[in-house]
């Protein structure tokens, strides 16, 4: 195994994300790499095509508000119980991001097509939705096994980078994602997968009957960095809940451009940068 598999810092990990990358991230609570997102914001990367699987919250809102995102591909961008995503909504009004609005299973299907090396996957539903009108990359055909039975085909989507946070990794690069299985699909589909983890364990996750079923094999993992509570202020499945107070604070701050800028300064740069 490559000696450089485990990066010295989260900052070093995210340095592999180039300008203009198609960056794929999971939904809130299922392994969002927030420490890595802050590291990304401290760097200069921009012009990202952000693909949320299938939705995103504060992670997308921060990246969009900071002007790092050119294209947003998602089934939803929202802070959930803390309200709409203020920076995203401002960017939409200002036409500062290109929207690829989708529906959850379409995003899963496009990634699964890439996971299988297929050019496309079919999906039921969709027909008559305005989503289809605005997605010329989706095609409608007549189901060859039916009669006069239209069905939509979605092109494979192969992310440049899949980025997520998980509980455990071992020194072979295996990553335990547990129930957050979409992270496995994201890694299978992507060209490069970068992962932050709560901790590195000293046993082989794939050799353990109980861990193996929830483990992404190291085969798909480019690089790992340790980030304790790396999903904060979001939660991590089976480890810790979201920090509701902080998310409420963010929602209030991001309601204005000035508040958003202040949040960035205080929570991403400044003393937070030193601490992470």
């Amino acid at each position: 195994m490559d000696a450089a598999l485990i990066a010295g810092s989260v900052q070093e990990l995210v340095a592999a994300i180039p300008d203009g990358a198609l960056l794929c991230v999971p939904r809130d609570g299922s392994g969002v790499a927030m420490a890595a997102t802050r590291a990304l914001l401290r760097g200069g990367v921009g012009n990202l095509h952000l693909l949320a699987v299938p939705s995103s919250g504060i992670q997308a809102d921060l990246l969009i508000g900071a002007g790092r995102v050119a294209v947003v591909e998602a089934a939803g961008i929202t802070l959930g119980e803390y309200g709409l995503a203020p920076a995203f909504n401002r960017a939409v009004r200002g036409a500062r991001v290109r929207l690829l609005d989708a529906t959850c299973p379409a995003i899963h299907a496009s990634l699964q097509a890439a996971e299988k090396g297929l050019p496309f996957m079919p999906l039921r539903g969709l027909i008559g939705s305005d989503l289809v009108r605005h997605r010329p990359d989706w095609r409608q055909i007549d189901n060859p096994f039916g009669q006069d039975d239209p069905i939509v085909l979605l092109p494979a989507c192969r992310p440049d980078i899949s980025l997520f946070h998980a509980a455990l990794a071992d020194r072979q690069g295996n990553v335990w994602v547990g129930r957050d299985r979409e992270c496995m699909t994201m890694a299978h589909a992507a060209k490069t997968t970068l992962v932050t983890v709560e901790e590195i364990v000293e046993f082989d996750l794939m050799a353990d009957a109980r861990y193996a079923p929830g483990t992404l094999p190291g085969l798909y993992v480019e690089r790992i960095a340790v980030a304790s509570r790396g999903a904060w202020p979001l939660g991590l499945t089976d480890r810790y809940p979201p920090d509701g107070e902080h998310l409420r604070l963010y929602a209030r701050a991001a309601a204005s451009e000035e508040g958003f800028a202040r949040y960035l300064e205080e929570q991403v740069h400044g003393r937070r940068a030193a601490a992470e």
Binding site: N89, T103, A106, E182, W232, D243
Partner: protein, 250 residues
């Protein structure tokens, strides 16, 4: 009136779920969620309830795609959708107001609606705010259409629409809503004034049945305790169930 509006809605929705084997509800939908848990109890536990995002009530182990696969397999009998706008053809809009894409009011996005609305047999539209702002003649963006041409594969679709004022059922063949009942204290004329779309109605419109005392006691007792797991704040506010402490720091 003994029951609160929320309780009336919960009990009315539970009635719509009768006979379902498996009902799924969103993580941010406490009234439909409470209704599903009540209906489950009324089924003697035979009805399965899945609450998206809840640990205890979430039966998935194959990632986020499993909910949709499960619905596609025909294993989900009922689901709830809402909409920033809902129109008279039951089209729902979860995207925003104005000309897409540069909309001046932008909502979250369509989430799973453009799929689940097609494959779940009983989709119940739930929107508490009943106004000409929410119930419109024509939505600005069709996240998911209320009806489809006959050749489109569509085992599912809209079944009913429930608001703070009344209950509609959707007539698939006419692709129009029909007023089923108005909630106690509300009037047909008031419903018409506050609805942006035209709808059908019977000659005499009944009043939505109020919860009987037994059902109300069940809801406030046993069900309230169950509701507290996926919807702690709601259970505290509505039923006075103390919320468990939740703390997190980096």
């Amino acid at each position: 009136m003994d029951a609160s509006t929320e309780e009336l809605l919960i009990v009315t929705i539970a009635r719509l779920l009768h006979g379902c084997r498996h009902v799924a509800v969103g993580a941010l939908s406490p009234i439909p969620g409470s209704a599903a848990l009540l209906a489950r109890r009324q089924s003697g536990g035979r009805m399965r309830v899945s609450v998206l995002g809840s640990r205890q009530w979430s039966p998935w182990s194959n990632g986020g795609v499993e909910l949709f696969d499960c619905a596609g397999q025909g294993r989900m009998d009922a689901f709830f959708l809402s909409g920033g706008q809902i129109d008279g053809q039951a089209n729902v809009n979860l995207v925003g107001v104005g000309d897409y894409p540069t909309q001046q009011v932008r909502w979250s996005g369509s989430f799973g609606s453009a799929y689940l609305y097609f494959v779940v047999p009983k989709v119940i539209l739930f929107r508490e705010e009943h106004s000409r702002r929410t119930l419109v003649e024509k939505v600005d963006f069709i996240s998911a259409p209320g009806s489809s041409p006959a050749n489109v594969y569509r085992p599912g679709g809209p079944y009913a629409l429930i608001t703070s004022r009344c209950l509609f059922h959707f007539d698939k063949h006419r692709a129009r809503f029909r007023l089923t009942s108005v909630h106690p204290g509300h009037e047909v004329a008031e419903v018409r004034d506050n609805t942006g779309f035209d709808f059908d109605l019977p000659e005499a419109v009944p009043v939505t049945a109020e919860p009987d005392p037994g059902t109300l006691a069940l809801l406030r007792g046993e069900i309230a305790g169950q509701v507290a797991d996926p919807y702690p704040q709601f259970a505290e506010r509505l039923f006075g169930v103390p919320a468990a402490g939740r703390a997190a720091a980096p």
